[in-house]
């Protein structure tokens, strides 16, 4: 078994709150310096930087999970990741169809731009990416799993935009591949409060919006190789694979 350092929750400059220094090239550069081997690219309700980062990361031997941090109708943030371009594009289509379209005001929220490898702007997203979808958390979960993706409710312990803040507690029957906890708590503390979550896999991450944040909190994936299916198995604790931190 090999061990891989993973930071599964990274925003790029496409997220209105993402620092301008969070370009695909720079994220990969910093991740390499910090010896991150698995990156989770999760902009708010958009997947549009993920593939470029995956390509640049691969050149440095880093595996990038491509997806988005989705805002459900209840305003719960959930990480979603997909194995291939086809699934990722289908999910982007779903996001386009279901996000509440409100015009972005860059003065308040920041710019939302897609850039290329040379950091030239190729697209500016006109509608605000932090708006919610018109889909419930169960509907989003179902869509992600139809596309064989990974569904991980984000920072479940936080007082904002989390399962616990929006819905009071984690629904025990939620079909999550893992539950992400923030750097402000520990797995033990969460289990003390919610003992019924014992059977879930937990992840933690930096939720980086600035280059310095990348890798501030990582989890370790123990698995046979560096690919999507192995990551899925590790999250499920299958065949000796596991996630720890």
């Amino acid at each position: 078994m090999q061990q891989y350092r993973a930071d599964l929750h990274i925003h790029t400059l496409l997220s209105p709150c993402g620092d301008l220094e969070m370009s695909p090239a720079n994220i990969v550069e910093v991740a390499a310096q910090k010896k991150i081997e698995i990156l989770g690219i999760a902009d708010h309700n958009s997947t549009k930087h993920a593939l470029l980062i995956q390509k640049l990361a691969a050149e440095k031997g880093i595996f990038a999970l491509c997806g988005a941090e989705v805002t459900t109708r209840e305003e719960v943030h959930c990480l979603t990741f997909f194995e291939n371009i086809d699934a990722l594009n289908q999910f982007q289509q779903y996001l386009n169809e279901h996000i509440t379209k409100v015009k972005n005001n860059p003065k308040y929220f920041g710019h939302q731009v897609v850039v290329d490898e040379q950091e030239m702007i190729v697209e500016e997203i006109e509608y605000l990416l932090i708006s919610a979808l018109d889909q419930s958390i169960e509907q989003v979960e179902k869509k992600v799993h139809e596309l064989d993706g990974l569904f991980i409710p984000a920072h479940i312990d936080r007082p904002k935009y989390s399962l616990t803040s929006q819905l009071g507690f984690v629904p025990p029957d939620i079909k999550a591949d893992a539950l992400e906890i923030s750097r402000h708590t520990t797995k033990e503390e969460v289990l003390k409060k919610f003992p019924y979550l014992q059977s879930f896999t937990f992840t933690t991450s930096s939720d980086a919006h600035f280059p310095d944040d990348i890798g501030k909190k990582v989890c370790i994936f123990e698995m046979e190789a560096l690919n999507f299916q192995e990551i899925k198995m590790a999250l499920r604790g299958e065949k000796g694979r596991k996630v720890s931190f």
Binding site: E74, S136, I137, E138, S165, Q166, G168, F169, P171
Partner: protein, 110 residues
């Protein structure tokens, strides 16, 4: 005032939880953050919200609330409705927005 009387006065839809229509109303609480309701709502209150997730019913049951009113014509999800019927907590609905229905409820029970 009972929940039954309230539904008549405010012309509310009754989606489910009819067994609890005789519940006495002690007050109201307005919030869309379930963590907040869990911490701050009191027994016998009517909860006004736009959230339709089934956790709404779990929290209403935990806090022993009199009823729930969904605003803006929000429809309950199927499992939310099932749970309302199981728990016997009235799940009500209105086309009114939160501001309007809250004002009317306040006038009735202040």
């Amino acid at each position: 005032m009972t929940v039954q009387q309230l539904t008549e006065k405010l012309n509310l839809k009754v989606y489910g939880g009819k067994k609890g229509l005789g519940n006495e109303i002690s007050g109201g609480y307005v919030s869309d953050l379930l963590s907040d309701v869990m911490g701050n709502a009191d027994t016998g209150e009517v909860w006004i919200t736009l959230q339709t997730h089934k956790n709404v019913m779990a929290i209403a049951s935990l806090k022993d609330l009199a009823a729930i009113i969904l605003v803006n014509n929000h429809q309950p999800e199927e499992d939310t409705l099932n749970q309302a019927n199981e728990e016997g907590i009235p799940l009500l609905g209105t086309h009114m927005g939160t501001f309007e229905i809250t004002g009317k409820l306040y006038e009735l029970i202040k």
